[in-house]
């Protein structure tokens, strides 16, 4: 090959810019769609993370406040009346559900103490399950992005490297100037995949442990409250 021809063929490749925007624009449409999908994943992951952080903070504060007022010696009837007027969450919801079952058993025509203990426990179990479901919602998205994000990015990388090999074949030249832009754009896809996946994994692990902690706290309260109600039943019956 004539050296002048080589220099000429290298000229258009030489003018590629390796900025983020340039890398995105020069990518194949498959790689582009992978990049955009991963960017959307990242946005969604961070939105969930912010949402959950705020939710758990709120839940913890509400639990603290409820426990304080529950153990302050206030009568349970008054507490029930003040809480049942508006929709409640977590521990308050547990308390309201149990109290409602208790009141229904006492204020109805037929006083049925026989299965009251069991009924209260069932109601509280259902409420705990509903509360945990509310806390855990959308955490699966984080897990999915955390595990699949690198693979999606790797797919974009493989596609980009394929296209860079095709450019080698087209220009019949293996110099770095021919290969480098394709490989850089391909690696950019993996980079975005990792950027989306790493926070997703970290947040998922943190949130799962938070949910477990709060579920344990709810169950502890449920047991305690069931014990109190059981003592009341035995005293009255």
């Amino acid at each position: 090959m004539n050296p002048a021809d080589v220099a000429q063929s290298a000229l258009p490749i030489a003018s590629t810019d390796l900025s983020i925007w340039g890398l995105f624009l020069s990518a194949h449409w498959v790689v582009k769609s992978v990049m955009l999908g991963l960017l959307a994943c990242s946005i969604w992951v961070w939105a969930i993370a912010i949402d959950k952080t705020l939710l758990y903070m709120r839940t913890r504060r509400a639990m603290d406040r409820f426990e304080q007022s529950f153990w302050s010696g206030q009568s349970l009837e008054e507490l029930y009346r003040s809480l049942s007027s508006r929709p409640t969450h977590s521990m308050a919801a547990l308390f309201v559900a149990a109290m409602r079952e208790w009141k229904r058993s006492f204020e109805g025509q037929s006083r049925s103490f026989a299965g009251l203990q069991m009924r209260i426990e069932k109601v509280m179990d259902v409420t705990i399950a509903r509360e945990i479901e509310r806390l855990e919602r959308r955490l699966l998205v984080l897990a999915t992005v955390g595990s699949a994000g690198p693979f999606i990015g790797l797919f974009g990388t493989v596609w980009g490297i394929m296209s860079s090999f095709q450019s080698i074949a087209a220009s019949k030249n293996t110099s770095l100037a021919v290969v480098a832009p394709g490989i850089a754009e391909a690696l950019f896809a993996t980079a975005i995949g990792l950027v989306a996946a790493i926070p997703a994994t970290i947040f998922y692990n943190k949130f799962v442990s938070d949910v477990n902690k709060q579920a344990g706290r709810l169950e502890g309260f449920a047991d305690e409250f069931a014990a109190i109600l059981s003592r009341q039943i035995d005293e009255r019956g």
Binding site: T16, L18, S19, I43, W44, W46, A47, I48, A49, I50
Partner: protein, 310 residues
């Protein structure tokens, strides 16, 4: 949820913007690699280049290429001059060719003994005027002296004095031009006389040579046909060299001769198999007729290690 989604989107937008600004890398401009024009020549072409030509202009004497003056090295392979052959005289030729004159080197008189002999003559002439007894005595003494001198005098002539090389005149303004700007690590060729021109061709340059493709084709053919016994032990001792003489029709002229020798039934069967392979490989179509001189008589090596290396 909607609020946090908005917050997340804003965060990503700022991160991307920051990346666009801070990672605005300098445009990738590959430096143009200097292109080196390369011509491929085969080993055969190279030996053709070094072979020299018969019709090259005759130089006085091809002196070795020399850049420094040093003592002459002994010629490792002194080229022997071909003696001129006298033409064959037949009856048809009218005049007999002039016989080459043979100059016999005349033995030159040695300078030292001559001088020694001249001395006693002079003394004789001087002594003639004096009395004969003293003359006889001195004659004897002089004879003894001259004999002694003759014995002492070295028979070898003194080597001719070399003319002193012209001393270059010192010119301060030309010092810069005289400086050697070449690489100091360079190995300069040394010789008796300075000579900057390369020789026309190497005396051992051989133009017609079997090219590698021909050799490889021949080797592949023979290796394909050769079946050494399976389970050869000490394959290094099983190397068989066979001398093959071929005719212009690329077929064997005589039976192939085994040059190497060995013992054992394994060796014998390997050797017989190699001979069979040579017979079966006829005619050797891969050899070109231009290189007949090189493949007319050749030695082929059968090495089982080559077989098993694949």
């Amino acid at each position: 949820m909607r609020k946090s989604l908005a917050i997340s989107a804003v965060l990503h937008a700022t991160a991307l913007l920051w990346g666009l600004i801070s990672f605005n890398a300098a445009p990738f401009e590959p430096s143009e690699a200097p292109s080196i024009p390369v011509d491929f020549i085969s080993a055969t072409d190279f030996s053709k280049l070094t072979a020299g030509t018969k019709d090259a202009p005759k130089a006085e004497t091809q002196k070795p290429r020399v850049e420094k003056v040093a003592e002459k090295k002994p010629d490792p392979e002194p080229a022997q001059k071909i003696a001129e052959k006298p033409e064959i005289v037949t009856s048809s030729t009218a005049e007999p060719p002039p016989t080459p004159e043979t100059k016999k080197p005349e033995p030159k008189a040695k300078p030292v003994p001559q001088a020694a002999e001249s001395k006693p003559e002079k003394t004789e002439k001087v002594e003639q005027k004096t009395d004969p007894i003293a003359e006889a005595l001195k004659k004897e003494e002089a004879k003894k002296e001259s004999e002694q001198k003759q014995a002492d005098a070295k028979p070898t002539p003194l080597p001719p004095k070399r003319p002193a090389p012209p001393q270059p005149k010192f010119d301060a303004s030309k010092v810069a031009a005289l400086l050697d700007k070449r690489d100091p690590q360079r190995q300069a060729a040394t010789g008796e006389v300075m000579n900057a021109s390369a020789s026309l061709g190497a005396p051992t340059g051989n133009a017609p040579e079997l090219s590698q493709s021909e050799l490889d084709a021949l080797r592949a053919r023979l290796m394909q046909l050769w079946n050494p016994p399976i389970g050869i032990q000490a394959a290094g001792t099983m190397i068989i060299r066979i001398r093959v003489i071929l005719g212009r029709d690329r077929k064997l002229i005589g039976p192939p001769q085994v040059i190497t020798s060995g013992k054992g039934t394994m060796y014998e069967s390997a050797r017989d198999s190699a001979i069979r392979a040579v017979f079966r490989a006829q005619p050797f179509d891969m050899l070109k007729s231009e290189t007949f001189e090189t493949w007319r008589d050749m030695e082929i090596t059968f090495d089982p290690r080559d077989m098993f290396r694949g």
